[in-house]
Structures are given as structure tokens and as C-alpha cells.
Symmetry: C2
Subunit: 712 residues, 2 copies
């Protein structure tokens, strides 16, 4: 018997639930899940399925799914591993729409588990069901029309507008607990376990149109399909913020890299690039994730990064100012009108400069009036209110005053109620009334900094991946053909490298491969001076390491001498046989010496690098990474994120450099590596960026190719 | 009437206390302090002083201090500001030893307050009393023989071995509350307010010998005497860890800097340098401060940075591994014997590689046995245990098992009990039993990282400030004399700069100031080629900004041409009148191009810089800062902390560089700026560090001098 395909809505908003494996033992998972479903008043019938019990938690039990009289939308499976496949078949037969398989012992324990998981999945797909798990904690939906707690977690969260997907069940427990403690309301929670069927990507797509969800939180340990994640997240983040914690080192899976780009590409850079390009806010810790979510779920997005601080105690005000500036926020001078009006009612000792310190004598009405003024100030994009309860002033009064002061404002307000025992009643209602509170100013500043970043990302028009048409991919492919035919990856010969770059509109400098001193001198005479002489060898990767690069040769005699020197150096190293010739190259004067590169991430595909080049590339590490394909904004952002970006504007006596040309080189490389998956590693270094309007030329380049394109 | 000088012990361990201004109103500060003293059972009589009340909180009140029949060791003043001076005089007359002035309205509100504070201080000093405050929250001592709660804070902390000094009273409230929530026991707490008499430095010295204190925590907003702080902290931190949060930006007080060093020295670098040199652990937030204190107060110091992670859930184990590596800890491979023994009792699906994942089926005895094995492993310096409570395993059982497993170990153990409601009973006792727990693995990793840093600092032998004797300070002073006589700070002329450097054993390159093309050519011929020609001008600070540096001149003709070019460039800029001459300088080939500098911090004195030099110094920002005077270790650490440090070992084809010579340049500069306080700014850039054994030469240098030494 097959059904029309089920949706995630069927899973998360069922009208009836069966717990297969519901047990009478209180310490069993099946018993705990069943009890949670009852205790949190699921809005529909819940059926315990247990052949050995007459009733479970006072509810009549059924010996099998088939014995249940009505339809079953959702089945929760907590039976032992070896009974799961049969239970899934029973579900299919019963016409169940959604499954949550809590039972563990599948893919995560090795080959036999993987086979069993595949068998289960085959039945699920064949019957048009959707499945969460196996090896998970369960799912939750706080919508009062559903009220589904199909987990064995002890915590039922507050209802709210934040959805959460956790790849770790263990962490899911901690997360639900923390959310409750913070007063962060949850719409839907899913522990996705092994992701055999339903993935995090599926959930993001569900939440995109879920009217109960405004903010999406993810705890990730791995990406099933990074490209799909990027596409979905990029789209969804335009309307609903997505925040993520990603753990798990990818370093061990990485092949030893021979290029600069590969050496610089740390294990986590691809993940950082992916989140950045998809508009996902990454935090290092769950605490930070929740702090940012408290703000994004309850307050408007800030229009800019200018924050006003209002405090009744100097020290915490200074801490807050430090913390704000530390995350890139600014404390603007207040409008003179704001200052003048603050002076009319604050104590003479109060400071009306930002941070506004009302001193300890301030009472609730002062908070209300001052906050209202700060939010009206045209220089202010957000307000952070700090309250330290002195003797005689009640936190709930101040909380109500802050709510009143913030009323009607379209600017975000954050608070920091310090020195109080836990979260007092007034703050709890403050939270539900949508003004978040933080224990210390740093957490508030970090959260606001993230909201500003997200608002900026969202305000920017969507950038496109440019397509250059003045290219000759056929010519590039021909140049690669012979090298890419071998079994082992190889470095392309210099002439082939030049061909590939030329085919993609990447200018090189005039150059010629020569095989003798006279040949070199003649080539140099023909192209003009100064020139450089560079070793040609397929086996020597870093030419400068063997003294294989001789610069600034100004006449034919110097070129001849340099040839002799090159021969001598290799002879001294006993590597004369690797001396295949030399490249005579016209030297150019670069206004900015850049580098552009690509290394292949085994999971995420081509990872592009751009930054400050030269021989000290790996020492300065002034580079940025993004995943292929690059939009115009991606490439421009890479350049703007460099420490050396100021060199493009002309630094001291040096000329400015053609920033647009460097960005174009990066974009052309992006298109190149996308078109030609045989390329597995690429270094353009240096890229001589000339003065504005003069373009950029690739001075040296290395390309490594493999026979079989290993792009994922 | 005068007394023998009181000590901090008299203040913090009094045998009798009077509250001057004890009020019957429950919302008054005096009432709150008096109530706290009674409620927390101070071990001695507490006298309310209130002329208008017969009794306060059922205790007979006295109309004045004089009316109290017995002696009064400590008086807490909560009277209105205008009554404080009279009350202090009464205290002096009564023979009170210590004062805590909670009343505000002194130095912090401006000039009239400052004058009043000075008058109060005069009385205090004249009577040999010690005073904490004014404008503070009060003091606490949890020693059961004292049991002093002379604060108006609602929280009485747990007794313990951590001392805390807070410059902010407001934050003090939050701190006491947080400490209580974390189960962090406090020995003494002092809110030091305006620090009119007793300073943070005094408290650190008191805690140095206080048998009840093992760890010292500081919340600082300013330094009264940074040099004394450094001396005291450096000594005390050898035996008791000192942790600090410092807020407050010093940027506004900073004079506009004209040197590279000044431009690079951000507002907070001097504070960072000070803490580093004093062995003080700086944290950004109060949360981090307490996390580190939980570990340092309760566990032995780690002997190294190798951590074993033991977990019953995979995800949090990965998070912990990431977090540990992120703070510089390493996860070593376990000894094969450990691995073999773990396999004998863990589930077959468990992972016995580090992190050791015992999977969810692990029970308390598994934790005990596995932890014991990990702590015995010779590859392991510390253990982090993560516990996620699955259904059926009790946290208190596991907590007891961890205590048992850690028994007798000299290696630190940290835990992370996740997903539990608050801190369960078992963990509470775990904390008192001295194994700290953290809510998430990142916090545990950060705390352990700090403990490793501190242990390393403490294990290192104390380093001395070297004194070079091959110097001629008189010669340097003569060279400075004329310049330092003027009213305005000036840049020294190049010849005077060379004199000063030569007098301090800092080698320069052969050079001569010339005033014409032929003169230049002759000078170059005499010193040998290649040479550089550099503009001499007292008004043009950055010579390369006007094209005033021409390099690599290889014969006399090129020198003549260069002279003409220099003339032309300045003429083109209309600055010919600033062309005072040129410096002909022999060019050297540096293996490392360094920079050494000094800028004067208005509060902390000379701040020394060393790092990668050249024209891109401010772009690369690869520099380190330390405060004067430098020990040998300080200078060596500066070099070791650079990104470019690998260049000293020879990078790719480049030669290695004379690291010892560069360190010596740094140390000589430190002695120079200490001996000659007229020097207010100094840049040596570039410093050509030659190949090992060849030394280092200063290629270019600028020194700015002022008439009046403004060193603090």
C-alpha cells in the first residue's frame, strides 16, 4: 500500500500520534516520550503500541499499529534496533505519514548499521513517508493547535518564534533547557540524528514558509549537501535570519596541499566562507547563538551600527562601551537637542554624553523618558539600557519603564539587568514583552554586533555571479588535455599555464621559454628591459627555494650571466637534470602585488583565495577565502577584508592600484575553475596590479591538474 | 588622639563594628548594611549609631560613636555626604582602626567632591586609620572567625579561597550574585570605590600573605600607580594566580602620535602589555574571569597543554575538541596501554581514541574507571569530562564517580554536565569537592587554556632587566642637549640621532650628510656601493612620502643623477626650502627587516614596540608591545610572538637572520629610553638584521625629544 508523498508539515503538525515501544518503565525512552506527549497535551489522540501491556500511563495500549482503530499521522519508534525495520513496515502498512526513529545503532555504529538504515530508508521512501532520525531525541512543536512533545527531554520549552534543528541529540537536551532558562520561545525543535531522510536543509525550507517561525537556529556537525545548503540558506536568510553553530574539524580529511593557497586554507575556512556567502550568522558557542537569537526574535533590525548606552552605574557603562566598540559598533555623539532635553530632568552629576550615566539616583521614570529621547535621536540606531538595582529601586518598575520608553520605536532596544538574583519577574515579562536582557554588557554588545552584520547583509542587493564571454574555454581545455590525461595529478608546463590564462582573459607579462644563454639574451632584447629569468622545471615546485628566480636584468650581458648562474646553482644542488630551461619575462612595476589561488576542498569544492602576494604570502597571511562560485560582491568583499586594502588607495608615496582589475582577476579565476574541473590547485602569485586604469597582469602562475575531476 | 598605624587586617578582620548612619528604614543603605551584619552573624558586637532612633533592627542604638561603651575596630559610614567629614573626625576621636565610607558624592562628582575627599583623607591619615571608599559597596570576609558582611548587597557568598576586589560597586553586586550561583567560594570581597586610601595594590599585598586566599580576582577601571601594580603583581603571581578584567578606554587621553610606533599603539595595548609582563591573566568578561577562577581555585596547575576528553556523547565531544584546539591545547594520542585497558570494559561501539566517546550506554562506573586511566596516561596533562544525562543515568552518580576517578591525581580535571536543569545537587557537591563544572565545553576549554598559560609563566625562571655597560650616556645626552632645550618637542637632526644610537652601542650603516651632487658622489665613492640617497629635512617627517629616498645607486653618476632628482621632486612639490641636504648611506642586505620603536603612554610610561619593519610596517601590523623596562624574556617573547618570526630561521631560499642581535637592539633601546627621559618618541625602521653572527644595523631612525621629561 502506498500513499501520496508526505510533507514535513505532516511530520511536524500531526493530528494523531502512536508511540511504538511505549513502555511502562519510567526510565525507558518509550515511556518518557509517551509521558511527554500526554503531559504537554498533544491536540489529538496518542496511542501507545506495546504488545505486552494492557495500558501505559493509564492509557489503553494497542498490541500493534494495525490494531489502532483510527488513522495515525505520526509514529514515534523507540523499539530495539532489531525491531525497527519491521515496525517501519507496519507503519507503511498502516498508512502512517511521518516517522521519528529515536532508536540508535544505525549508520553511526558502522557498516551493519548503515545497511539496516538503508533498508529502513527504502521502505520509508517506497511508502511516501518522511522520517526524522534514526538516532535522535525527537521533535517538538509548541503551536497550541498542535502542542507536540515527541521527545524524551525533560524540558518543554516556552512557545515562541524561534525554530531549532540540532544534529546532536545530547546537545538538544542542553539547548531546550537553556532556551527555557533564557525565556527564549521555541516554535519547532527537531533533533535530526543521522539525517537518513529529513535533513537540516529540508527543515530550513519548511521554516521558510512556516508562519510560526521568524528565526532559524542550527547546530551542525556536518553538511550533507553544502551546495544545496548554500542555495537554500541564501534565499531563506533574505527574510528570516539563520544562525548556526558548526562543530567538527574537517582537517583530517584534507589532502596534503602543495600550493600556497592549499597551505593557507585552514580546516575551518571553507565553513566560514560558506556561512558568510549564504548570509548565515555563525557563532562559536551555543550561548552566543541564543544571545543573538533573543535579539533577532524580539527586536527590529538596526538600520546602522550607532548605539546609545543608557546606564545608572558608571563602571558597567564603560564596560558596555568597550564591548560595543570591540565588535565594531560606534557610540555616536548625541544630537544637541537630546543632550539639552536630558539635562532638564537628570541629576546635575549625570553625564549626558554617550554613554548616558544617570547615576544611582535615577528612578524608573528617568529610564522611560531618557530611553524615549535616545530612540528619537537621529544619530542613534539602537539602544542598550543597563540597570544596576540600587537599594530602593525595583527592577520590575524599571523593566516596565523601559518597555514604555521603547514603545513605538523601530529601533532595537537591549537591556542588561545586572546584579539581580536570576531573572526577576519584571524581566521575565520584559522578555515576553520583547526586550531581551543579558547578564553582562559584553553579551549584549556581541548580539547587537551580529544583528548589525545581518541587517547589512540583508540590505545589500543580491549580487550575481558574473559570466565573462570574452573567453575561449576550448583553447584552455586543449592546453590542459595532455596533462590531465595521466593517472597522477601534475603541474602544468609554463606554456600551457600561459595558454589557459590567456584563454580566460588573464593577462600575463611578455615572456618566452628559452634553452640557452644566447637564446635568453635574444628574447630579452626583443621584449625590452628590465627582465627576469626564471627556472623552468616540472619537478621543482617553489622556484625561489632553489634560487631559480633572478630579477632586474637590464641588458643582454646580465641575462647571459644570469643563465650561467642558474646552471651553477642547480649543479651545486645536484639537480642539473631538473633544469629544463628558463623563462625570460618582462618585469612590470606593480602598485599592489597580489595573489589569487584555488584549492579543492574535499567537501565544499573549489575554495578561492585572494590577498597580498609575493614571497612572504604565507608569512603575512593577509588573504581572504570564499567558496566557488563568486558573486561580484564576494570578490569585492575579499579585497575589502584585507589588511593591505589601503594600498589600493595609494599608501604614502606609493601609487594607488587598480582595485577593479584585481577584483576582475579573482572573478575570472572563479569562472576558470568552474569551467575546468580538471584544475585541482592554482596559484597566481604575484599578480601585478598596476595603477588605476592600467589593469593587472599575472607574473607567475602554477596550475595543477588531475585526470578525473574530483569536484563534488 | 592618634593611634599606631592600622593595617588592612584591622579593616578586614575587625572584632567590633559600628554602622554610622544605621537607619530603621528598610530601603536605606545604612539599614541594609546593619541588617546584613546581623543576619550573617558577625563574630563580635555591631553597634548602630543613629541619634534619632532608640533601636535599629531590635538592637539598641547609640546617639554617637563616643557613646559606645567598648572599642570600635571598624566603622561603616552611610551618613549623607555633608556629614561624612564630621563622622570621620568622630571615628578618629573614638580610636577606630578602619573605615568603610559607602557614601558617594566625592571625587567622582567633580572639584568640590575632590576637595572634601582630600579633607577626609587628611583626617584618616593623621589618625593612622585605613579607609576603603568613599563611594563603594562595602567589604565582606567569609572567614567563620570573622563573618563580616559590611555591604548592602543582598547576596552573602559561599565561603571559599578566592579574593575579589572591584572598582565598581554596581558590578560588585552582580559579581557576588554570579559567584554564589556558580558555587565559587569567596574569602574576602572589597568594593574599593574611589580608592582615596586603600587601593587595589594594597589589597593584593594583603592577600599575598592571607592564609584564606589562593586566587585573586580584580575588576579594574583605572590604575592609580601602574608601576607599583606591576611590581606587586609580578611578585604575588609567582605564588597566587591573579586574574583581572580591565575596562575603560584610555584612547581619549592619548596625544596624537607622529611616529609609526605611536600610530600602531592602540589604546589598550599598554594595558595588555602590563598584565602580560606582570603575569596577570586578563579576561574580557566577568564570566570568563569566574570560569578561570573555578579551575585555578580548585584544581592543580596543568604541567602541559595535552588534554584528554572523556564523553558519553559524540557531538559535545567534537565541540570540546574544537574548543580546546582553538585555545592552543592539544589532544594527544593516548598511550597504547590506556587504549588497550579502555577496550576491556567500554562498549564495542565506543571510541577509545581521544576524545574517548563511551557512548550513551556508559554508566557511572565507566566514568570512574576511564577517568582514572586517562589521568594515569603519561601523554595527558589534564582531563575534561563531558556528561550528557541520558534517560536512566543519574547525574549525582556520575559526579561521585568522577570525584572517585580523580582521587589522588595531580592533574587538573574539569567537567561539563550538559542538559541538566541548573546545577543538580550532585554537581553542587562536585564543586565543593573541587571539580569545576561548565555549562558548555567552550568555557571549560578557555579556562584550561588560561591555566596552562599561567602555569607556563610561573614555571619559567624570573628574567632580569639586563644592564649594558658598554655605553656612553654622556655622549648621548650631549647630542640631545640642544634639541631638548626648546619649549616644543622636536625631531632630532640625523647626525644627533646617529650620535645617540652610537652611544648606546646601536650600530648604524656608514653614512654622511652632504649638501651637493659632487659632495654626494665623493662620499659614496669613499664608503663603497651600493648606496642610498635620503633627504635631510627637519620638517618632513616621512621622507618616502615625498619621494625623498632613492635606493640602489651603484656608481658616482647614479648618485649625481639621484641628487638632481631629489631637487626636482621637492621643487615640484613647492617644498624646495625644506631640502636641507641629503644623507648618503651604504646599503646593507638584511636577512630580516625589522623595526623597533617607543611611544610614551601618558599613564604607563614608555611603551616599546618591535616587529617587522619597512615601509609597510603599519599595513602589516606585525608588531609586539611591552612596557619599559624590558627583561631578556620580554624582548625574546616580543620576537617570538611575531607572525614573521619564521623568517629568522631562514624562510624558503632566504638566509636565516641574527635573532639574538635583534633582541639585543630591543633591549638596548629599552635601556636608552629609560636613561634619557627627554626622548618621547623613537622609531628605528628599518633595522637590518643580518645573517646569524653578523649582528643588526639601524638603517634609519627618528627620535623626538621634549624639554621636560613627561615620564610618570
Amino acid at each position: 500500500m502506498t500513499n501520496p508523498p508526505a510533507t514535513l508539515g505532516d511530520l511536524l503538525c500531526p493530528r494523531s500520534v502512536a508511540v511504538v515501544g511505549a513502555s511502562r518503565r519510567p526510565d525507558s525512552i518509550g515511556g518518557a516520550v509517551f509521558k511527554n506527549l500526554l503531559a504537554n497535551e498533544f491536540q489529538g489522540p496518542v496511542y501507545p503500541v506495546n504488545p505486552k501491556a494492557e495500558f501505559v500511563h493509564s492509557v489503553r495500549a494497542f498490541p500493534s499499529l494495525a490494531a489502532i482503530p483510527g488513522p495515525v499521522d505520526l509514529a514515534i519508534l523507540t523499539v530495539p534496533r532489531d525491531s525497527v525495520l519491521a515496525a517501519v513496515k507496519d507503519c507503511a502498512a498502516k498508512g502512517v505519514r511521518g516517522l521519528v526513529v529515536i532508536t540508535a545503532g544505525f549508520r553511526e555504529v558502522g557498516e551493519s548499521g548503515r545497511r539496516l538504515e538503508d533498508q529502513v530508508l527504502e521502505v520509508v521512501r517506497g511508502a511516501g513517508m518522511r522520517m526524522i532520525g534514526p538516532n535522535c531525541l525527537g521533535i517538538l512543536n509548541t503551536d497550541p493547535a498542535v502542542s507536540l512533545d515527541a521527545t524524551f527531554a525533560p524540558t518543554w520549552p516556552l512557545a515562541g518564534r524561534v525554530a531549532f534543528s540540532s544534529q546532536s541529540g545530547a546537545l538538544g537536551l542542553a539547548i531546550l533547557d537553556l532556551a527555557r532558562g533564557l525565556g527564549l520561545g521555541i516554535s519547532t525543535f527537531a533533533s535530526i540524528g543521522n539525517k537518513a531522510d529529513v535533513s537540516g536543509n529540508d527543515l530550513i525550507e519548511y521554516w521558510e514558509t512556516d508562519p510560526n517561525t521568524d528565526v532559524i537556529l542550527l547546530y551542525l556537525e556536518s553538511f550533507g549537501n553544502p551546495r544545496r545548503f548554500t542555495q537554500i540558506a541564501r534565499r531563506v536568510a533574505r527574510t528570516k535570519p539563520i544562525l548556526a553553530v558548526k562543530s567538527g574539524r574537517t582537517g583530517s580529511g584534507r589532502r596534503a596541499a602543495q600550493s600556497h593557497t592549499g597551505a593557507l586554507a585552514g580546516a575551518d575556512l571553507a565553513v566560514d566562507a560558506l556561512f558568510r556567502q549564504a548570509g548565515v550568522l555563525r557563532t562559536d558557542t551555543i550561548d552566543d547563538l541564543f544571545d543573538a537569537a533573543l535579539l533577532l526574535a524580539h527586536q527590529p533590525l538596526p538600520a546602522g551600527n550607532r548605539v546609545a548606552i543608557l546606564t545608572n552605574a558608571g563602571g558597567p557603562g564603560i564596560m558596555a562601551a568597550d564591548a560595543c566598540e570591540g565588535v565594531g559598533l560606534v557610540l555616536p555623539a548625541l544630537d544637541p537637542a537630546t543632550d539639552a532635553e536630558l539635562r532638564t530632568f537628570l541629576a546635575p552629576e549625570a553625564s549626558t554624553r554617550n554613554p548616558v550615566d544617570m547615576i544611582a539616583s535615577a528612578r524608573a521614570p528617568h529610564f522611560e523618558r531618557a530611553l524615549g529621547l535616545l530612540l528619537k535621536d537621529p544619530n542613534v540606531d539602537a539602544a542598550l539600557v543597563i540597570f544596576v538595582p540600587p537599594v530602593g529601586t525595583e527592577a520590575p518598575d524599571v523593566a516596565r519603564a523601559i518597555l514604555a520608553g521603547a514603545l513605538g520605536s523601530t529601533k532595537p532596544v537591549l537591556t542588561c539587568f545586572m546584579g539581580s538574583h536570576g531573572i526577576p519577574e519584571g524581566l521575565r515579562s520584559l522578555r515576553q514583552g520583547h526586550v531581551p536582557s543579558y547578564g553582562f554588557p559584553e553579551a549584549a554588545a556581541r548580539a547587537l554586533g551580529r544583528a548589525v552584520s545581518y541587517a547589512r547583509w540583508r540590505a545589500r542587493p543580491e549580487s550575481a555571479v558574473p559570466v565573462f564571454v570574452d573567453l575561449d574555454p576550448g583553447r584552455a581545455r586543449r592546453a590542459l588535455a595532455s596533462a590531465a590525461a595521466g593517472a597522477e595529478p601534475v603541474w602544468l608546463a609554463p606554456l600551457a599555464v600561459s595558454e589557459v590564462l590567456a584563454a580566460y582573459g588573464l593577462r600575463g607579462v611578455p615572456e618566452r621559454v628559452v634553452h640557452g644563454a644566447e637564446d635568453a639574451a635574444a628574447a630579452a632584447d626583443a621584449m625590452g628591459y628590465p627582465v627576469a629569468l626564471k627556472l623552468v622545471s616540472t619537478t621543482i615546485t617553489h622556484k625561489s627555494d632553489v634560487g631559480g628566480v633572478i630579477l632586474r636584468l637590464t641588458d643582454a650581458d646580465e641575462v647571459r650571466q644570469a643563465w650561467a648562474e642558474l646552471e651553477g646553482r642547480l649543479a651545486a644542488l645536484g639537480r642539473s637534470r631538473e633544469f629544463e630551461g628558463a623563462l625570460v619575462q618582462r618585469m612590470v612595476v606593480s602598485a599592489y602585488e597580489g595573489a589569487v589561488g584555488m584549492t579543492l576542498d574535499p567537501q565544499f569544492g573549489p575554495l578561492l583565495m585572494a590577498g597580498l602576494g609575493g614571497t612572504l604570502l604565507e608569512v603575512h597571511k593577509d588573504v581572504a577565502f570564499r567558496l566557488h562560485p563568486l558573486t561580484r560582491d564576494d570578490a569585492a568583499e575579499m579585497v575589502d577584508s584585507l589588511r593591505s586594502r589601503r594600498l589600493f588607495d595609494g599608501y604614502r608615496a606609493a601609487s594607488p592600484a587598480d582595485r577593479a582589475a584585481f577584483v576582475e582577476v579573482i572573478l575570472r579565476v572563479s569562472q576558470l575553475v568552474g569551467d575546468l574541473p580538471e584544475i585541482i590547485e592554482l596559484d597566481l602569485n604575484p599578480v601585478a596590479v598596476l595603477e588605476p586604469g592600467e589593469g593587472a597582469v599575472v607574473v607567475d602562475a602554477r596550475i595543477r591538474v588531475a585526470a578525473v575531476p574530483p569536484h563534488p
